[in-house]
C-alpha cells in the first residue's frame, strides 16, 4: 500500500492505495466520485478525462500514485456550487448528449481545451475534441455547445 494524497475538486484526500490502482479507479471506487466514467480503460474513448494541474488527462492511463499532491478537477468540480459552468449549460441547451455516459469526459475535455487556447476555428475544436468518443452521435450538439461558449455566446 502506498500513501497517496489527492486534491480533488479542492478537497484533500489521504488514501492508502495499491500502486497499480489507476486514478480512474481511485476516483470511482475509493473516493466514490463516479462522475468520471470508465468506457474502455485503455485511453481510447476519453470518457475518463479529468483536468490535472490545468491539463486534460486520461485518468485510466494514469496511476493514482503518480498524481500524489496534484490538483485534480473532475466533472463534480466543474460547476461553481449550484451555478453550472457555461459549458455545462451549453451542453443542456444544445442537447449535446443522449445517454450521458461520455458527457463528463466531453465537458472536462472541452473546459481543458478552451484553457489550452489552441483551438481557434470549428475545425480545430473538432480536431482537439476528437479524443472523446460519443457513441450516441451527439457530435453536432457537442461542437455547437463548445463553439457557443468559445465565442462568448450568452446563455439563458
Amino acid at each position: 500500500m502506498t500513501k497517496t494524497t489527492l486534491n480533488v475538486n479542492q478537497q484533500r484526500y489521504e488514501l492508502n492505495l495499491l500502486p497499480w490502482v489507476s486514478l480512474l479507479d481511485a476516483l470511482r471506487e475509493h473516493l466514490k466520485l463516479t462522475g468520471t466514467k470508465k468506457g474502455c480503460d485503455h485511453g481510447q474513448c476519453g470518457a475518463c478525462t479529468v483536468i490535472c494541474d490545468g491539463k486534460r488527462i486520461l485518468s485510466c492511463l494514469t496511476l493514482a500514485v503518480m498524481k500524489n499532491d496534484s490538483e485534480i478537477t473532475t466533472i463534480e468540480g466543474i460547476a461553481g456550487g449550484d451555478e453550472l459552468h457555461p459549458i455545462q449549460q451549453a451542453f443542456i441547451d444544445h442537447d449535446a448528449f443522449q445517454c450521458g455516459y461520455c458527457t463528463p469526459g466531453q465537458i472536462c475535455s472541452a473546459v481543458g481545451m478552451l484553457q489550452e487556447g489552441h483551438a481557434h476555428t470549428r475545425e480545430e475544436v473538432q480536431e482537439l475534441m476528437s479524443g472523446n468518443l460519443c457513441r450516441c452521435g451527439a457530435n453536432v450538439g457537442i461542437i455547437d455547445a463548445i463553439m457557443e461558449v468559445k465565442d462568448g455566446g450568452t446563455h439563458e
Binding site: K37, Q98, G100, C102, L133, N139
Partner: protein, 747 residues
C-alpha cells in the same frame, strides 16, 4: 372533456435529466455505493470450440483477497429447462447458458468468474486461472460457409420478424426480357453495438431470496423475469433498476452474461457483488451479423420497376436462429409485378447476433438503394427521379394503404435543402481543389411499432401528478417526452409531473427497442390520463354543492391543475381541493395502452426518410469525408423536436460510421475477433462529423394511435449508408460493393 392540448407536446424542451448528466450525478449500473461490496471479473474462453477438460484455480484462490472462483464445475444449482433461460427477446433455438457445462460454443465465451475484495485483485487473479481444453474444428467465416445456409426456424419472435412473402408473378421471365437490369452482390462485416457504458451489474443481496439489482439493460422486467426463472426466485423478490443507461442500441434488449454471473456470485456467496465487463468483453456477445445479399432489379425503358429479386444470407450462432427481416424491404417501397425474396441463415461458431439499431433495414436498404442507384445510371434517369417514378402511396407488398406516408415530402424538401439540382449527372464530374465531389441520395423505411404498456397515473395531495412505468431511458429522451405528454393530458405544467421509470417494480413496459417507446408508453399515458380525468371529475361531482354535478365530460377543461366549466371558467376546482376532499388520499388509475389491431388490420405502418449526402474524396489518398448530409424524416407527430432531432443526428452519425468506419474483423483461422477495442474498432470522432441537417416532414396521422406518433430512434440511419455509397460512386465512378468503404478501395 377538453384538455389544454399541446402546450408542451411539440415543443423543443431540453432533457429533464440534463443537469444530472452534465454534473456527473447521474448514476449508472456500476456506480451505486454499496457496503461490503465484492468485485467480480470474468474469464473468457481463448478457444473457439471444444471442451474444458480441467480448470486450475489454486493459484488464483491463493491470492490475498480472492474469495471464490466460479465455473461450470462449482456453479450453483440452475434451472433445468431451456425455456426457463429464454428471455422475452430470445429467438428460436436453445438460449446460451453461461457456466452450464464444459462445452465451448464460441471464442470469448465466459468460462470462469473470479470474486475478490478489490477490482484490481479480481482482475489479476483472473489471469492466474488456467484451463486445459480439447479443441475441436470450428466454422466462423460466413463467406466460406454459404453452403450451410438454410431457412430460419420459427418461434415466438417470428410474429414481429416475419420471413419474406412468397414470390409474385414470374421474376425470371420478367428479368430476362427487361429493358434495364442490374445484378449486384453487397456484403458487410460484423458490427458490435459498443455503447460507451460497459455492461455492468451491481447485485445487492438482501437475504430471504431477495435481490436488488442495478443493471445495464433496455428492459427491466425482461431481466427481472430472467433472473427469477433461472435462479428459482419469486418474481416479487427480484427488483431490477436501470434509471440511467449509458446507451444500448439493441445490446441491452436481452440480458447479457454479466447479469447472470453477478447474480450467481451474489447468491452463492450471500454477498453484494459488482461485475463490470472490460471493453474487450463487450465484443463477446451481441452483434450485427455479417450479411451477403444478392439483388437483381429490372425496369422498363421508362424506369418503372418490373422485377425485384433480393436474396440474403446472414450469420447466426450454432444454438439460436437470430433473424432480422432483410429480403422483402424493397417491395414495401416500390411496386413491381414480379418479386422473388429469399432469406437464409448460416449457423456458425459465434455468439448469437442481436438487433442493432435498424436491424435488417439498414442492412437491406444499403443494398436496395445502391442497386436503385446503379439502375438510375443505366437508365440515364436522375436517381431521385427514379424513386419518384416508382413512388407508391400504398404498401405494394401488403397491398394496403399506409396510415400515413409523407415520403414524397421528404424527398422534395431534403433535395431542395441539399441543392440536389446542382448535381452534374456524370460520375467524376465535380471537383473542389484536390478533392472529387459526389452527391448521393437514398430512401429509408422502418417499422412503426407499438407494444402494450401499462401506466399508473395519480394525483397526489400536493395536486401534482406521478406516473409509473417500467420503461428505461437509454438516452432517447423518454423521460422528457413522457412528461410532456402527461402534462398536456392533465393540463399541468411539466414541473408538476413526475414520470418514474427504469424499475421492474413499476407497471409493465416491453424492453426499449424498435423505436417504439413513445408510441407504447406514450399511448398508455394517454389512456391512463383519460381515466384519471374521469375519476377527478367524478370526485368533483361528489363535492358539496358541486357546480360540476351536471357537467358532462365535454363541458369541462383541465388546465393549470384545475377543472373548470367551459361555460364559466371562473367556476373551478383545484386538484389539491379534490384530494383534500378525498381525505388527502391520492386519486389514481392503472391502464393498459395497446395497438388498435382491428382498426389497423387494413393498413401498413412505417416511417420513411430520404437522405442526401455530399462527399469529398481525396484524389491521391482516396480518403472520404462526408462534408454535408440532409435527412428528412416522416414519422408522424414529433413530440419533442429537440430530442427527436438528436435521435436522427445520432442515426446519421451511425450511418456515416457504418458506411466508412466500423467493422469487427474476424480471423477465420483463429475464430476470434481481432480488433476488440475502441482504438481498432473505428467509430467516427468529432473531426469526422461535418455538417448535418434534419428535417421533419409534416405527417399528420389520425389512424396509427392516440398520439399520431411513429418513433424516430432508427429511421435516420436506414438511408445513410446507401446515400454515402452512392455519393462515393458519383465522386469517383467506382462502385464499392461492401461496407465499410475504405480509402484503399478508391485509389
Amino acid at each position: 372533456m377538453k384538455m389544454d392540448k399541446n402546450i408542451n407536446v411539440g415543443q423543443p424542451i431540453s432533457r429533464l435529466e440534463g443537469k444530472q448528466k452534465v454534473t456527473g450525478t447521474a448514476k449508472y449500473a456500476a456506480e451505486y455505493e454499496v457496503n461490503n461490496l465484492l468485485y467480480a471479473y470474468v474469464v473468457n474462453s481463448t478457444i473457439t470450440k471444444g471442451k474444458i477438460l480441467s480448470i486450475d484455480t489454486s493459484k488464483a484462490l491463493a491470492l490475498p483477497g480472492v474469495i471464490e472462483v466460479l465455473s461450470h464445475e462449482n456453479r450453483t444449482k440452475l434451472a433445468w429447462f431451456d425455456v426457463q433461460y429464454a428471455d422475452m427477446d430470445a429467438p428460436p433455438g436453445t438460449v446460451f447458458k453461461p457456466f452450464y457445462d464444459e462445452n465451448i460454443l464460441y471464442n470469448g465465451q465466459p468460462i470462469a468468474l473470479v470474486v475478490a475484495e478489490s477490482f484490481e485483485m479480481a482482475r489479476f487473479a483472473a489471469t492466474q486461472v488456467t484451463f486445459q481444453y480439447k479443441e475441436e474444428p470450428f466454422k466462423t467465416c460466413l463467406k466460406d460457409n454459404l453452403g450451410l445456409a438454410r431457412t430460419a426456424k420459427k418461434g415466438f419472435a417470428t410474429a414481429l420478424k416475419p420471413p419474406p412473402p412468397p414470390p409474385t408473378g414470374n421474376f425470371e421471365k420478367a428479368y430476362e426480357s427487361a429493358a434495364a437490369k442490374v445484378e449486384t452482390t453487397y456484403s458487410h462485416g460484423t458490427e458490435h453495438h459498443n455503447p460507451l457504458e460497459l455492461f455492468a451489474t451491481t447485485t445487492i443481496y438482501q437475504g430471504d431470496g431477495k435481490l436488488t439489482i442495478y443493471d445495464k439493460t433496455q428492459g427491466t422486467i425482461n431481466n427481472q423475469l430472467y433472473v427469477a426463472n433461472i435462479f428459482g426466485l419469486k418474481y416479487k423478490n427480484v427488483r431490477v433498476l436501470a434509471p440511467f443507461v449509458g446507451g444500448g442500441f439493441g445490446s441491452g434488449l436481452r440480458p447479457q452474461y454479466q447479469l447472470f454471473l453477478c447474480v450467481m456470485a451474489a447468491l452463492h456467496l450471500k454477498r453484494n457483488v459488482k461485475l463490470v465487463l472490460e471493453r474487450k468483453q463487450m465484443f463477446s456477445f451481441a452483434h450485427r451479423p455479417p450479411t451477403i445479399q444478392n439483388l437483381r432489379f429490372s425496369a422498363d425503358i421508362n424506369g418503372k420497376l418490373t422485377g425485384l429479386n433480393h436474396s440474403s444470407k446472414s450469420e447466426t450462432s450454432s444454438f439460436e436462429d437470430y433473424f432480422e427481416p432483410i429480403a422483402s424491404w424493397s417491395h414495401r417501397l416500390y411496386p413491381a409485378p414480379n418479386t422473388l425474396f429469399e432469406q437464409e441463415l448460416v449457423p456458425l461458431d459465434v455468439h448469437t447476433p442481436l438487433d442493432m439499431r435498424a436491424p435488417g433495414g439498414s442492412t437491406a436498404l444499403h443494398a436496395i438503394e445502391c442497386t436503385m442507384d446503379e439502375l438510375a445510371y443505366q437508365l440515364k434517369i436522375d436517381p431521385l427521379e427514379l424513386r419518384l417514378i416508382n413512388y407508391s402511396e400504398m404498401d405494394p407488398s401488403a397491398k394496403k394503404p399506409y396510415t400515413s406516408k409523407a415520403l414524397r415530402a421528404c424527398y422534395l424538401e431534403a433535395a431542395e435543402k441539399f441543392g440536389w439540382d446542382k448535381r452534374k449527372p456524370e460520375p467524376r464530374s465535380m471537383e473542389r481543389g484536390n478533392k472529387l465531389v459526389g452527391y448521393g441520395m437514398a430512401t429509408g423505411i422502418w417499422d412503426s411499432l407499438q407494444f402494450p404498456s401499462r401506466v399508473e397515473a395519480m394525483i397526489n395531495a400536493d395536486g401534482k401528478m406521478v406516473l409509473n412505468n417500467a420503461v428505461t431511458d437509454i438516452g432517447t429522451g423518454t423521460l422528457t417526452v413522457m412528461t410532456q405528454i402527461a402534462a398536456d393530458q392533465l393540463g399541468l405544467n411539466m414541473e408538476d409531473v413526475d414520470f418514474q421509470y427504469g424499475d421492474s417494480k413499476k407497471p409493465f413496459s416491453m424492453f426499449q427497442g424498435g423505436s417504439a417507446m413513445t408510441s407504447s408508453t406514450g399511448v398508455a399515458i394517454v389512456v391512463a390520463a383519460k381515466e384519471l380525468r374521469k375519476k377527478l371529475l367524478k370526485k368533483a361531482k361528489e363535492m358539496t354543492d358541486s357546480p360540476f354535478k351536471k357537467a358532462e365530460d365535454d363541458q369541462v377543461t383541465f388546465q393549470n391543475g384545475t377543472i373548470f366549466l367551459n361555460s364559466d371558467p371562473n367556476t373551478l376546482v383545484t386538484f389539491k381541493e379534490l384530494i383534500a376532499f378525498n381525505k388527502g388520499k391520492t386519486i389514481k388509475t392503472t391502464n393498459m395502452g395497446k395497438p388498435h389491431m382491428l382498426k389497423l388490420k387494413n393498413y401498413s405502418l412505417a416511417t420513411h426518410s430520404a437522405s442526401f449526402v455530399e462527399v469529398e474524396v481525396d484524389k491521391d489518398l482516396g480518403v472520404v469525408t462526408v462534408t454535408r448530409a440532409v435527412t428528412a424524416v416522416a414519422a408522424g407527430k414529433i413530440i419533442n423536436p429537440k430530442t427527436a432531432k438528436s435521435q436522427v443526428y445520432g442515426s446519421m452519425v451511425w450511418g456515416i460510421s457504418k458506411a466508412l468506419h466500423e467493422e469487427t474483423i474476424m480471423d477465420p483461422n483463429l475464430g476470434k475477433y481481432m480488433n476488440s477495442n475502441l482504438g481498432e474498432y473505428h467509430l467516427p470522432v468529432h473531426a469526422d462529423i461535418k455538417q448535418l441537417e434534419v428535417i421533419f416532414a409534416d405527417e399528420p396521422d389520425e389512424l396509427i394511435n392516440e398520439l399520431g406518433v411513429k418513433g424516430v430512434g432508427e429511421i435516420g440511419l436506414v438511408g445513410m449508408p446507401a446515400a454515402i455509397s452512392n455519393a462515393i460512386f458519383h465522386a469517383t465512378g467506382k462502385r464499392i460493393y461492401k461496407l465499410p468503404i475504405h480509402f484503399n478501395e478508391l485509389i
